[in-house]
Amino acid sequence: MQKIGVFVCWCGSNIAATVDVQAVSDALAREPGVVFSTNYQYMCSQAGQDMIQEKIRELGLTGVVVCSCSPRMHEATFRKACEKAGLNPYMVEIANIREQCSWIHKDKLSGTEKAVLLGKAAVAKVHLNTPLTAGESPVTKRALVIGGGIAGIQTALDIAEAGFPVDIVEKKPTIGGKMTQIDKTFPTLDCAACILTPKMVDAAQNENINILSYSEVEAVKGFVGNFTVTIRRKARFVDETKCTGCGLCTEKCPQKKVPNEFNLGLDTRRAIYIPFAQAVPKAAAIDPNYCTMLKTGKCGVCSKVCTVGAIDYQQKDELLEREYGAIVAATGFEPISMDKFDEFAYSQSPDVVTSLEFERLMNAAGPTGGTLLRPSDGTHPHTLVFVQCVGSRCDGGEKGKPYCSKICCMYTAKHAMLTREKYPDTEVYVFYIDVRTPGKNFDEFYRRAVEEYGVHYVKGMVGKVVPENGKLKVQASDLLGGQQLHIDADMVVLAAAVEPDKSARPLATMLTASMDTNDFFTEAHPKLRPVESPTAGVFLSGACQGPKDIPETVAQAGAAAAKVIGLLSKDRLTCNPCVARSDELMCNGCSACEKVCPYGAITYIDKEFRGPNRTTLLRRVAQVNPAVCQGCGACTVACPSGAMDLQGFSNAQIMAEVDAICK
């Protein structure tokens, strides 16, 4: 019989307000095996932990039940505390009487009743707990960063600086990401390219960093410390090692009519191209959708002009399989499509542009060479209307996103300010719901736009934009002025909401990392573990976790790197001891368990058993590799004889909980 101590936490008033903690500890004191039961204000505090440790030592407790917050919160805390007092950490069970009881039940009577039952279930389970010892698994000392934007680059640089090899997988032909398309950065107005491209070069030159551009992750297997990742290196039809990036081919290619994605389709490029001048790797790529040679077999101009013979029309996609100890998701964001926002006439007039397009129109390397010209007729615009929150903060979510995209207020202020600075003859209107400027020097920046640069900030939404006679008729409401405004604008700029990159969802599935309903990666804890995914060994960097500006992204990228470095600096990891175990005496050797194991943790051996009457029997039996098993339990149900059981969540333990709850 176990000697169980029960510790009921008040969590201040979080639990005690709707659960009678005294009644819970009294009721649990009457359970068989319970030798001590008490309640205390904050069990997780040092004083609370001390109390548990003291009772373990004093009473020789063999099991501990803590009725407190979710085990996802403090199970590890209490396990550690008990371990220090000499109790096996797996002899501790948590009854979740906060998230799953006190916080959701207003009625104290029913809340208390339920808390008692949850406590009884935990006591019933502890009766069947057995001390478990964690095994160890080795750590592959190499990291994978998925996404080569500023987040990925920064994470990779920091990991590489600490001395660990790291691979960056980038789906585009160059790293750099969205930041390469940005002209100036708020609130300092320094040039994005000037601060980004040196980092790109650093990454390329760092011997610990291996850039796999034009590549995508195809499959992920394994677990923390031991991932095996399949990476597809897409055929770029140019030998990256030979290409010098001279750009001759991109000038000679006869296929000139390819929309240039770097400039968001505002101009064109050739079928063979280098995305932009500072691309890393500085190597051309052939766009198979437009290349005449690849499509018809006739042309070959690039091959003829290339002096180093880098062109290879026969190149095929290549699959690499690499081992990693840690994976960082840095897949970034995309502005949402404007298809559903026809009221702003985005599809009707080329002079209605998104903010990112506006960045290109302002950029010296952009389609207009940095001169602000209307895409429709190349004339200089005089009246500009900026619309904020296009697709952000939308209720219902049908059309847009429920969240604030966070960066739009600041970049719109930047755009307005820069326009007024370069072209003092322009009138600039900004329509907003709220102006949100919570960042260092952000509000000052916004105020400069209004006060120094005379940008007209109007609280209210634009209702309709109608192209008419070369003008854009803007109908809007001025909520503070209490009037309808009609503005004849030359250009309208839409601050499109941001959303996670489309590649994030399938990647999350491969990583078994969870996502929220907006497809942003979820962090292990929103406050305390913001750069870790709940899946061990998977970390989050940049806007894939939520909308972020550049400084925040870089900060998180560094934080993710620190977590990865912490992981890779260990030689071995402690395994989860809650793994499957096969009872060889009952095993039929039928292979059902092996077929459902996602980790290949189960193997079979032929083993000799003593039979009746001094006979021996050779039987095939399953064995579980505890370093590989992750403890999902699929095998335990596939096994008809019940030979396969899961430590820490055994059949008997779960049934004991069921019994306690249903009583």
């Binding site: 009457r30 359970e31 068989p32 009746p612 009457n613 019994d659 306690a660 249903c662 009583k663």
Partner: protein, 334 residues
């Protein structure tokens, strides 16, 4: 002797059921069972029930005692179903004989009070056989299927039921039934009993005598080799009397119950040291040795079998006491 026109059988059952619970064999061949009588229930056309009549005295599952746990206290509660008088109508001669065999086990000192109470409260009305099955061999065991025992013996001849009380309990029962008239049953000529294929079964080789010779016979190996180790023979057998005592934890109390056990099962008489009969051969041998040798050795040569033939019909692989006795009893041909 009393008699009753069969046309009044329903009224007769109703009158019997008015005084106590009445069980009659009902249902189709193959699934017939002793069933509590209710308006409209008819006698089965089958010769006998699928399970034997022993169920009514020795049910498959019986709650013996409860242990109630309150906090850290355990209370012991005797949990015996209240004794109620009942009548079983239509018991065949073979099953009726099985009660004698069970009595010698359960009523011997110390008596099994659960069984004893049921025996005292039960009145057995037998029914003579007229259409035996080819699997019947009670006659070879000295049972007269045409003249069954019981508290009351019954015969159906033409369209009349004849009843003869054999015990005080039987007489008392018949006296409560006003619709019965006096009458004598005619002599019945039943040559079919002489045509039964198993009527000449010779079990003279068995009994308490040649115990070790039979026990050590090499023939068990081939007899037992295809036994599946199920309990169907045991559970349909009217004389099998082994049981297991188990505890069932309801969460708030322990219900200690007994249930039929089968010596064919691998956990039969399982002990901490293991299974004393480790393979199916030993378990199979146990069942037949018990019926043919052990029981007779302690009960004046009486076999632990009544020749009802149920195991012949029910064994999944058609291995049965007739085949075993036939094989073992055959003298070795040199």
């Amino acid at each position: 002797m009393k008699k009753l026109p069969l046309s009044q059988l329903d009224a007769f059952f109703a009158a019997l059921a008015a005084g106590q619970e009445l069980y009659i064999p009902a249902g189709d061949a193959g699934t017939a069972a002793f069933t509590p009588w209710r308006e409209g229930l008819k006698l089965t056309p089958a010769l006998n029930t699928s399970r034997s009549a022993k169920d009514l005295f020795f049910p498959q599952v019986e709650n013996l005692v409860d242990f109630k746990v309150t906090g850290k206290q355990i209370e012991i509660i005797e949990n015996r179903a209240p004794a109620k008088p009942f009548v079983i109508f239509g018991v065949r001669a073979c099953d009726c004989r099985s009660f004698d065999i069970l009595d010698k086990v359960f009523l011997a000192d110390p008596a099994d009070t659960y069984y004893k109470t049921r025996r005292e409260n039960g009145t057995i009305v037998t029914l003579a056989c007229t259409e035996p099955e080819e699997t019947c061999f009670c006659t070879a065991l000295g049972i007269d299927p045409a003249n069954p025992a019981g508290d009351v013996s019954g015969w159906i001849a033409e369209d009349t039921l004849y009843l003869q009380a054999n015990t005080g309990k039987g007489s008392a029962l018949l006296e409560t039934l006003p619709m019965l008239e006096e009458g004598e049953k005619p002599e019945l000529d039943q040559p079919v009993f002489d045509r039964l294929p198993l009527k000449d079964l010779d079990w003279s080789a068995f009994g308490g005598e040649r115990m070790m010779e039979h026990f050590n016979s090499p023939k068990w190996a081939s007899l037992a080799e295809s036994c599946l180790g199920c309990g169907s023979c045991t559970f349909v057998c009217p004389t099998c009397q082994c049981y297991d005592i188990k505890d069932f934890n309801t969460g708030s109390e322990i219900k200690r119950f007994r249930c039929w056990d089968s010596c064919m099962y691998s956990d039969f008489t399982l002990m901490s040291a293991g299974q004393p009969r480790p393979t199916q051969l030993e378990r199979f041998r146990q069942r037949f040795m018990h019926k043919l040798v052990y029981y007779p050795s302690t009960h004046e040569g009486e076999f632990g079998c009544v020749g009802c033939g149920r195991c012949l019909q029910k064994c999944p692989i058609s291995m049965n006491i007739v085949k075993v006795a036939g094989t073992l009893g055959k003298e070795e041909t040199p």
